[in-house]
Symmetry: D2
Subunit: 352 residues, 4 copies
Amino acid sequence: MERIGLAVIGAGYWGPNLVRNAQATPALRLEYLCDLDLQRAQRVLGGYSTVRATTSLDEVLADPRVRAVAIATPAATHLKVALAALEAGKHVLVEKPLAANLAEGRQLVEAAESRGLVLMLDHTYCYTPAVFHLRELVRGGGLGTVQYLDSVRINLGLVQPDVDVLWDLAPHDLSVFGAILPDEVRPVAVAAHGSDPIGAGHACVAHLTIRLTGGAMAHVHVNWLSPTKIRTMVIGGSAKTVVWDDLNPTQRLSIYDRGVERRDPGTLAVDERAQTLISYRVGDMVAPALTEQEALRAVMAEFAGAITEERAALTDGRSGLRVLALLEAASASLRQGGVFVDIEGDEDAKLA
Amino acid sequence: MERIGLAVIGAGYWGPNLVRNAQATPALRLEYLCDLDLQRAQRVLGGYSTVRATTSLDEVLADPRVRAVAIATPAATHLKVALAALEAGKHVLVEKPLAANLAEGRQLVEAAESRGLVLMLDHTYCYTPAVFHLRELVRGGGLGTVQYLDSVRINLGLVQPDVDVLWDLAPHDLSVFGAILPDEVRPVAVAAHGSDPIGAGHACVAHLTIRLTGGAMAHVHVNWLSPTKIRTMVIGGSAKTVVWDDLNPTQRLSIYDRGVERRDPGTLAVDERAQTLISYRVGDMVAPALTEQEALRAVMAEFAGAITEERAALTDGRSGLRVLALLEAASASLRQGGVFVDIEGDEDAKLA
Amino acid sequence: MERIGLAVIGAGYWGPNLVRNAQATPALRLEYLCDLDLQRAQRVLGGYSTVRATTSLDEVLADPRVRAVAIATPAATHLKVALAALEAGKHVLVEKPLAANLAEGRQLVEAAESRGLVLMLDHTYCYTPAVFHLRELVRGGGLGTVQYLDSVRINLGLVQPDVDVLWDLAPHDLSVFGAILPDEVRPVAVAAHGSDPIGAGHACVAHLTIRLTGGAMAHVHVNWLSPTKIRTMVIGGSAKTVVWDDLNPTQRLSIYDRGVERRDPGTLAVDERAQTLISYRVGDMVAPALTEQEALRAVMAEFAGAITEERAALTDGRSGLRVLALLEAASASLRQGGVFVDIEGDEDAKLA
Amino acid sequence: MERIGLAVIGAGYWGPNLVRNAQATPALRLEYLCDLDLQRAQRVLGGYSTVRATTSLDEVLADPRVRAVAIATPAATHLKVALAALEAGKHVLVEKPLAANLAEGRQLVEAAESRGLVLMLDHTYCYTPAVFHLRELVRGGGLGTVQYLDSVRINLGLVQPDVDVLWDLAPHDLSVFGAILPDEVRPVAVAAHGSDPIGAGHACVAHLTIRLTGGAMAHVHVNWLSPTKIRTMVIGGSAKTVVWDDLNPTQRLSIYDRGVERRDPGTLAVDERAQTLISYRVGDMVAPALTEQEALRAVMAEFAGAITEERAALTDGRSGLRVLALLEAASASLRQGGVFVDIEGDEDAKLA
């Protein structure tokens, strides 16, 4: 089988990871690393590489050996770079978020779909063994009905000059919500609060509250200023509750058979009701064995698979739009003092 | 010195702790444990006690040896019980929250102040060695300017029949905020989101966002449904940041010399600005040695001290009003879909 | 049913816990707290107690209402105090270790058995929910064959004036080994290393290595000088391995389906053998739900039960002898530079 | 400055790490990866590398561009491979342990020293920021007098076919002891206990007790069978005690101002002596900020530095001999049932 020729665009923070994982993926053949700063690209490739460094996106897109590009440039440039690639007939893997705003994102999705090209989001966390397990568990009904979600992603982070902490960090949490929740549980509205105590010019600490269909609530806390690093997500269900602690490599997932239940008062004698309407389950905890595997390796394999099999990727352009719709609504809420803002509805309908 | 005669009212969940600690306090003399259920009171006292159990509050209040009462009955009864005690000339220690609402709370404060009696809140956490240390640190300026606060208090908790999770758990966090923040940093407005996924009839999961004078933001997450127990508070400052983990007995406080700073652009050459406006401090962490001491012991000592020295207690009635004002505003926000609700202003002015 | 009259002897470090738990045990009736220092005894009882404080052991033993005594005096006095009690016809619960040496311990066991009296060791840890669970698991075969045990019990501890760290702390680990290991897995020989870096006059840090029947090895590390507190025991088995972390209240036991196995080379083709003789199991971990219950409460209930039902207690005098035999052999090894010393054999045979 | 031509010998478990870090070291120029299995070497280099793969050690050693080799082959082959390299005039970096036994190790040290070539051990842990900090702290006197060391290195490890767990894992601990202890605190004798519960043919669990000059004791626990991974080292001192937890990336070092001290009885009144001879210090803990840096990068830099500056490396051949002397004595103790075996003395004297 012929390998798929790939170019990586952008040699900044994330690009080197794309380069390394592309090289380790048998189905791909890395042809270029492209960056406006040639020395940066060369530095990333190192002194022992046969891969070409270039500053010319045109050169890359004109090369017929390049069938696909992976874009790790700032979000503001995604529209231009990805659109050029799609127009040149290349499949596209793009860093989160898909684009600088929802309108631009839709342009990219339409451009890809109209040409039958793969447009895939590098929602890296969705490709971790932990999230694959969560996806099975939550969508498969193993938790019962989802009651609440709570995600905390805080650490002493790089304060971005161009985007606030919501746009920088929350895409991780929102894309995971999208990957693991059942199709019938979708975000309906979002309220956002943020603060900028260091004068960065935009929020450095933010809280998102998301109303889901069915009434459950999801909450996301993102923070660039925390001296400690926390990356946990709790998904509470009527049957079980799972805690994902991504910083605990030996026990990333803990599935608790613990919870609170309200019993049907009709089944109880009148005088029992006061104390017995609520019952508590306190059972065992199971930490499933997970394979250790770099998520980006699975991203690359999925990208190659989607191209070869001519199918949508697991995190396709539409999943990117759903994240953008949430972020835009959150930004609107932030501007309006934290009121709930409805999330723009069915992307599929809009695009169709 | 004569010991202060004390009666404990309420032999339910918290009463036994008051009984045990009152008995261990040299300045107090426990005379009665009073509960509507005599057997419950007797059970709490055990078979080896010389303390009297009674069902009659009147008997207790009529006894001149009783100079003070400690009330651990449901919040809805605080007004009636505490008012009766104050009217009988007794000093009062009352469980949080002070009363079922702000108006009732004001009645109690006025009743106590007009009679020159001590009215003290059992804001137990304010009397832990950790919070005493935090108070010194934060009010003393050791953190620099307070930038944000974040408190998480979640576990598989007792779902209360009469109050929601905010009124049940958040008083702990709010009273600690009050104790440690400088006088000039006060809550201005609060937004609250909650959900009731088990059909308990009121919120079982809630998030509070509080705007403070000066623009900093405080956030509180309370949750009765979490399978894991977390009790952490982060107070971020411009100089240092402290993490209080109350479930880590060997390292409750961690003071980080870590943070993000924005430098004054005027001091930088033009071409440096882009990358140098933000700087990161990554220094040592210090975990101060704290004595291990039961907080309720210190509560009892403070109550006795306030009575003897005829002074206000550290957590006096007005501190209880400040917590009630926040809770009422939070409940209003909850009813109004999470909009920010102003907190009723200067209690001292109102009362004066 | 009439309650069993009890006296607690010794109001020092552990006595108050015996007093508190005896009072909470319905089958017992606490009559006396006896200590050479009357004020210490009175202080322990507090100012609200109907229990008598006394300095006279004779008075206690002469009182026919006292059917049993619980002894929490220094080990050097156990022979005298417990023997007096047994000779007065009282059942005896005694703090670990049973006596200052094996010979004295045998005297006590013989004194109790010849009179048909209960002689029980307060091996408190054996009565924790965690150890009850471990006992079921290990003796019930749930771990497969026991392969190794490893216990660490270190913290900044009270340096005892009269005994070294082995005699102070290791009885906990050794009694738990005795409680959970199958009958056919018994200590055969022990080697001990110790050091006294602060000049306390005896070992403050010590390591025990114990050979068990069947060839497995147990190791115990006890240390009074550690700034951090660790209390973990690992029991490795051919099928599963369990880790007991007594300082993690929400996950004291973790049962791992992980391990290394050597496969039978006969089942493999010759060219597979090199790499396939060893196989690794990496399965789930289960943390069983345990009730939270004070172990000393269960100790008291077992003591009362053994008296009432005229049976041996779970941790009877002979279990105390087995611990003493190990400690004596360990001390002999310590004196002989760490050589293995055989453990004096079948106590039952010797006594019979 | 010309870069030093390097060949990596061995493309197995550790070789790829050497390849990666050599390529990232500006002072080195990687010329070859040599392995008996050409495909394995090619696989390690990947499909984008300009580095040559070869099976011929002779070819490598004959190439004048190769001035240095890094050897990551099994310990049993170190003598042959390293000696050939030294005889060809190449500087040598070799994986731990230096050789299969002390006699072979001495041959290598003599071969290097007589030719004025660098012979360096890849004692990787000695090049971590944590150990650099420990070295400063311990050798600089910041802990006071060293009282004890305790190292635990356990996990579900690869059961090696040719060496036991002592020779596989303990070199890490022993080389760190060597790096951080003051020159006057050296191992005097060692006792070792081991067990092989899975029938691997050699010890899979082992405990080392080491007597140091001055009387302090060091203990090492290594274990291939543990379901959990622990990598901690405690160094107790008369002034402070430090805990190194290598699996806690955000707090690898914790320096405790806690400890136990024996006071000089001469300074005390007679009646104070009993209770006051021992005093306890319970002060703050400090977790120093450490840079995050891959240790192997520092190994490579040190190797290049030693070659360029014609000086001994920090972990030179003699440090490798000291580790071998300890391992041989430990193996002798293991064969003799755990008795203390003296460690062969001053290597420098022997070699001189």
